[in-house]
Symmetry: C2
Subunit: 303 residues, 2 copies
């Protein structure tokens, strides 16, 4: 069963174009939505792709460049217009508080919806954990403090082997404890070891997000073995010097990172507007890492 669904709301770099919106994505996991970055116009994209704001509790902002955060105030305002209640936590570099709070106080009523801004730890670390999903941040290398995020299933339970339950006639009420590791003791006192009753859990699925960053193998430990990796690929490798100077990556470099980190699949985005057709970027990435694909507005990936 595929638990994650990623929806791309925007994958342009620097500014919106006729074709692309600035960075924003929504990751869905078991009914909960997690937004990653929130460029200008994100609210329009969010509703365009049928997402439900009542399921959204956390927004993760990678860094404070406008194309990754200018959509926050409009999105929050609109949530209030929709009478969204409760709390939304924005995990962002610490400067966001003094930039966004005065706007929230001026433009939004603040009567029903609480916005909490949680500063990202400067060196990265665990920033969310609900017992089944964990989010960690880690430093990227960009012109301002920038963070990648890894979303990972945790505490996955083993699968009950139905045939054994029937063979030993195990009462249904005991199944949760068996999932948690208990042995089964038959009415006759025989101990059936837990290992006979369950098969290993489905491997944990994970998603890693890396934008914006120059090529840096220092991120590999953080994204190692991710099921899906989003990595920025602003330029073709022929512009490697430009990429380095502006702290961005080329498509080839994104693929090198994917390969070294042994991820399952690579999704590239944050395209420079100079590429009218991004297949050139995809082709470059595929030469290094064949399981690559292009981000695009409205793309949904289940994994």
């Amino acid at each position: 069963m595929k638990e994650f669904e990623l929806t791309i709301l925007g994958c342009s770099s620097a500014k919106p174009t006729r074709k692309h919106h600035p960075s924003s994505q929504v990751l869905s996991y078991r009914g909960k939505l997690f937004m990653i970055d929130c460029g200008e116009g994100t609210q329009q994209q969010f509703y365009r792709y049928g997402l439900n704001h009542n399921r959204l509790g956390h927004i993760f902002i990678s860094h404070l460049h406008g194309d990754h955060c200018f959509g926050l105030i409009g999105f929050i305002s609109t949530l209030e217009l929709h009478y969204r209640t409760g709390e939304i936590v924005i995990h962002a570099p610490s400067d966001l508080e003094c930039l966004l709070r005065p706007q929230i106080e001026y433009y939004c009523g603040g009567e029903t919806l609480k916005i909490r801004i949680e500063p990202l730890p400067p060196k990265g670390g665990e920033i969310y954990n609900d017992g089944t999903l964990k989010v960690t941040s880690f430093p990227l290398k960009h012109r301002v403090p920038t963070f990648g995020f890894r979303f990972e299933e945790i505490n996955k339970l083993p699968h009950i082997i139905k045939e054994r339950v029937e063979r030993y006639n195990i009462p249904l009420r005991l199944l949760p404890s068996i999932k948690d590791g208990a042995d089964y003791i038959t009415p006759e006192g025989e101990v059936i070891p837990n290992g006979e009753l369950v098969s290993p859990p489905t491997p944990s699925v994970s998603y890693a997000y890396c934008s914006d960053t120059k090529y840096t193998p220092s991120i590999i430990p953080y994204i190692k073995g991710a099921t899906l990796l989003y990595h920025e690929a602003t330029y073709l490798h022929e512009l490697e010097k430009t990429a380095k100077k502006r702290y961005h990556s080329t498509a080839l470099q994104a693929a090198q990172i994917a390969k070294e980190a042994e991820v399952g699949e690579l999704l590239i985005g944050h395209f420079s507007s100079r590429y009218k057709e991004e297949t050139v970027l995809l082709n470059e990435a595929k030469q290094e890492f064949v399981n690559s694909r292009l981000a695009n507005e409205g793309l949904k990936i289940k994994f």
Copy 2:
């Protein structure tokens, strides 16, 4: 010759929808562009409709509700990315300075483009005058301080009557002074009165913008006889009470204002998202003022 061209960038109310963008318009006059309101996503719309940011010197913000100003920071950032130089003046309610300035200072380099925020006079008045075009602001009635704007040609010169120039054999170098009102004295000393040499100037063309406001005849002196009037028409008149409570207007009320002010044409906008098809609003307006039309993104009107 039609000197004005109005381009609608957005005409939704409160929030963007799948169909409409938040309020923004650009008025072009003799090569200069004037932006009126700047809702979220305006930058994308501005370039979508082929407008040239080098021609833009002034932005007029009617009031500080997000759907009329959230696009400013993104637009300014992108102007800097495009290396736009010089100065842009934002005419806006005075609170904008302390809301927008910290963002400009944080997100924009500020090295080449200067942003000056000119507070609108609380009671309205002349806010721009370049000798051929004058802009005046006037108070509307909304939940926060809100202003309408009137753009009007001034100091229009009379037309030289070509046949008289030929008859009296007037040297070309004297035509500017004749346009300015001088008589012509022939080499023989005969005085040809100015009135014989020129015909009256083309009547001044003007544009009035009224959004957001509840129905208030107090604005009529300010918009009297405008060639084109944009007036908000958020609701059908069956929601008159809602309109009044929220300080908005109905389509019928917009048309009543147009009729009383004896404008040439009425353009309605700022549509509530409840109307999937705005022709119902247009039909209502036309019952009162036949020369009415609907705003829509990308609409261009020359006048």
